[in-house]
C-alpha cells in the first residue's frame, strides 16, 4: 500500500511513466508477505511462552532443585545442538535465533545454579563467566548485526557492573585517587565511560578481519563510535572533579593509551579518507574529554560556560566531519544538538521572570536561526552513495 502511494505520487509528478508504475506494483505484489498474520502468530507464541514462564515461576518453589538444574542443562544442550545443526545446513535465521537463545539460556543456567546453591559471588563475576562461555560460539556462528549489538551491550553491562574491582585495580596502580565508592571518583567515572568505547573499536576491527563477519563488524564500529560520542558528551556535560581527587595525570595517560590503541585499530585496512575521519574523531574526542576533566573545577564559576563551549565545539567538529563524509543524518543531528545546548546555556545563564522571558526569546530566535542555517547547509552536504567509502 505504501509502495502504491509513492508510485502514484511519483507518476503524478511526472517522474515515472504508467508502465513503470505497473511494473513496480506487480513486483511489490509478488513480494507481498502476510505481515499481519505473522504479527498475530508472533503475539500468540509470545503469550504462550510468557504463560509457561508464569506457571513455572508460580510453582518455582515446588520444583525440586535436581529437576530445575536438569531441565536447564537439557535446554542448553538442545539449543547448542540446534545452533550446530542450523550452522551446518547454512540456515541463517534459525542459527542466529538459536545462538541468541543459547546466549540467554547460559545466563539463566548460571542464575539457577547461583540460586540453588546459594552462591554469594558478585554479579559481575556471573556476567563475566557468561561472556567467557558464550563469546567463542557467538564469534564463530552468529554473524547478524543484532547478535553483535546484543553481545556488545552484554559486554558493556559487565564492564559497568565490575566498577568496584576495576576501581580497586586503578587505585592500586595509582591511576585514580582512592575513594570509599567508585562512583565518588570524578576521575574513574569519565574513564569508565571512555574506555569501553575505545575497546569496542578494537573488537570491531578484530571482527572485521574475518570476511563473513564484516557486516557485524561495521555495526559494532558504528556502536563504538556512538558510544564514544555519548561518553564524551556526558563527560563534558557535567562537572566531575571533586576537591580531593588529586592529580589527573594517571587518568589522562590511560585515556591517551586507549585512544592510541583504538586509533591504531582504525588505521588497519582503511582508506586514506576513512583514516583521516577516524583520526579526527578520536583526536577531537580525546581533547574534549581531557579538557572537560581539567576544567571540571567546582570552585571556578566560569567552568559551566567553558563546558558548554567545549560541548558545542565537539559537536561542531562532528558536524563538520559528517559534512565531509556525506552523512546527512549525523550532520542534522549535530546541528540539533548544538541548538539544544545553546538553549540550555541560555537557561543556565539567566534568572528571574523577566530574564527567563528574555532567555526564552533569545533561545527561540537562536534556534530558528540555527534551523534556517542548518536547512541551507544540509542541502549543500553531498548525499553519500550507499556502500561507498566516506
Amino acid at each position: 500500500m505504501i509502495a502504491e502511494h509513492y508510485a502514484r505520487k511519483w507518476q503524478a509528478a511526472g517522474l515515472i511513466d504508467p508502465p513503470a508504475v505497473e511494473r513496480i506494483l506487480s513486483w511489490e505484489i509478488g513480494r507481498r508477505r502476510p505481515v499481519w498474520l505473522w504479527a498475530v502468530a508472533g503475539m500468540g507464541a509470545l503469550a504462550v511462552a510468557l504463560g509457561v514462564m508464569a506457571i513455572v515461576g508460580a510453582n518455582w518453589e515446588s520444583i525440586p532443585d535436581g529437576v530445575k538444574l536438569g531441565v536447564d542443562l537439557g535446554l542448553n544442550a538442545l539449543c547448542a545442538l540446534a545452533v550446530f545443526v542450523s550452522w551446518r545446513h547454512g540456515h541463517i535465521w534459525p542459527r542466529e535465533v538459536a545462538a541468541l537463545l543459547l546466549f540467554s539460556l547460559v545466563l539463566s543456567g548460571i542464575a539457577v545454579i547461583g540460586q540453588v546453591y546459594q552462591l554469594q559471588s558478585a554479579t559481575w563475576r556471573a556476567l563475566a563467566l557468561w561472556l567467557v562461555l558464550c563469546t567463542p560460539f557467538l564469534a564463530l556462528t552468529a554473524l547478524a548485526r543484532l547478535t553483535g549489538i546484543v553481545w556488545a551491550l552484554a559486554a558493556v553491562t559487565t564492564w559497568l557492573m565490575a566498577a568496584d574491582p576495576v576501581f580497586g585495580l586503578m587505585v592500586r596502580l595509582h591511576i585514580v585517587a582512592p575513594h570509599s565508592y567508585a562512583w565518588d571518583s570524578a576521575q574513574f567515572v569519565p574513564l569508565q565511560l571512555y574506555l569501553p568505547a575505545c575497546g569496542l573499536i578494537v573488537v570491531a576491527t578484530l571482527r572485521n578481519l574475518w570476511p563473513p563477519a564484516r557486516h557485524q563488524a561495521d555495526q559494532l564500529l558504528k556502536l563504538a563510535i556512538a558510544g564514544l560520542v555519548v561518553a564524551c558528551s556526558l563527560v563534558v556535560s557535567f562537572d566531575w572533579r571533586a576537591r580531593d581527587d588529586g592529580s589527573l595525570v594517571g587518568a589522562i595517560v590511560v585515556a591517551a593509551a586507549a585512544t592510541l590503541i583504538a586509533g591504531a585499530a582504525l588505521w588497519h585496512r582503511r582508506t586514506p579518507a576513512e583514516r583521516r575521519l577516524g583520526a579526527l574523531l578520536l583526536g577531537a574526542s580525546f581533547v574534549v574529554w581531557t579538557a572537560a576533566l581539567l576544567n571540571g573545577d567546582p570552585d571556578r564559576p566560569t567552568g559551566q560556560i567553558v563546558h558548554a563551549l567545549l560541548f558545542i565545539a565537539y559537536w561542531a567538529v562532528l558536524g563538520g566531519m559528517a559534512a565531509r563524509a556525506g552523512w546527512r543524518g549525523l550532520f542534522g543531528l549535530a546541528f540539533t544538538v548544538i541548538g539544544l545546548r545553546l538553549l540550555v546555556l541560555y537557561f543556565e545563564a539567566i534568572g528571574g521572570l523577566t530574564a527567563t522571558g528574555l532567555g526564552l526569546l533569545g533561545g527561540g530566535i537562536l534556534c530558528l536561526l540555527l534551523a534556517a542555517a542548518g536547512w541551507r547547509l544540509t542541502r549543500r552536504v553531498p548525499r553519500r552513495v550507499r556502500g561507498s567509502a566516506p
Binding site: E61, F84, L102, V116, Y117, Q118, L129, L140, T141, D164
Partner: protein, 184 residues
C-alpha cells in the same frame, strides 16, 4: 568449511554446557565428605530492597571469645551438641595449618572477620564472601516478606546449614525455619 573449523564450532558449543555441568559438579563436591554446622541468621539494616527474592542477613555466631580485630583466618567450631555451638576465631589460620591452634575444634571454617559498628564482629566464610559482612540467601517470593520479618522478630528461628570440608571451605547446604528445611 574445513573439518577442523567444524570441530572448533562444536567445541565452542559444548563449552557452555560442560561448564554449567562442571559448576554443578563442583558445588556437589563441596557437600561430599563435609560436616554440617547450623548457624542462625539475623537481619541487618538497611535491608536491600532492590534484591528481589534475596534475603540479606548476617551469620549470628555464638562467640566464645569475640575477636578484637579484622583479618583472615579460621573459625573454630568448638565441640558440643548445642544447637548454637560456641566458636572462636583463629587469626591467620590456613587449611594446611597443622598447628595446635586448631586442636580441640570440631571443624574449622576458612574466612575472615569483619567488625561492623552496628552489629559487632561477624565472620564470613571465604567461599561465601562477596566483600560485604552480609550474605544473600535466595528464598521464594511468597515467603520473603514473612522471613524478613521473622529474622528480625525471632532471632534464631531462621538458620543456615553450612557444609564444611576439611580444607575449611563452606557451602550452604540448606535453609531451615524452626528446624524444618526450606529449600535444598
Amino acid at each position: 568449511m574445513t573439518r577442523a573449523f567444524g570441530i572448533a564450532v562444536a567445541a565452542t558449543l559444548v563449552l557452555p554446557v560442560l561448564a554449567l555441568a562442571a559448576l554443578i559438579g563442583q558445588q556437589e563436591m563441596r557437600f561430599a565428605e563435609a560436616q554440617t554446622v547450623s548457624v542462625p541468621v539475623r537481619g541487618v539494616d538497611p535491608r536491600d530492597l532492590l534484591r528481589g527474592h534475596y534475603l540479606t542477613g548476617q551469620f549470628d555466631w555464638n562467640w566464645d571469645m569475640p575477636p578484637d580485630k579484622d583479618g583472615d583466618g579460621g573459625l573454630c567450631v568448638l565441640p558440643g551438641d548445642a544447637a548454637h555451638p560456641k566458636v572462636r576465631f583463629l587469626d591467620g589460620w590456613q587449611a594446611e595449618d597443622r598447628s595446635d591452634a586448631s586442636n580441640g575444634c570440631r571443624l574449622v571454617i576458612s574466612g575472615r572477620v569483619q567488625r561492623t559498628a552496628a552489629a559487632g564482629p561477624t565472620f564470613v566464610p571465604g567461599t561465601l564472601d562477596s566483600g560485604s559482612p552480609s550474605v544473600r540467601l535466595f528464598v521464594s517470593e511468597t515467603r520473603a516478606p514473612d522471613l524478613e520479618r521473622l529474622i528480625r522478630e525471632r532471632p534464631g528461628a531462621f538458620t543456615v546449614d553450612l557444609a564444611v570440608r576439611r580444607d575449611g571451605s563452606a557451602a550452604v547446604r540448606a535453609l531451615r525455619l524452626d528446624g524444618r528445611i526450606l529449600g535444598r
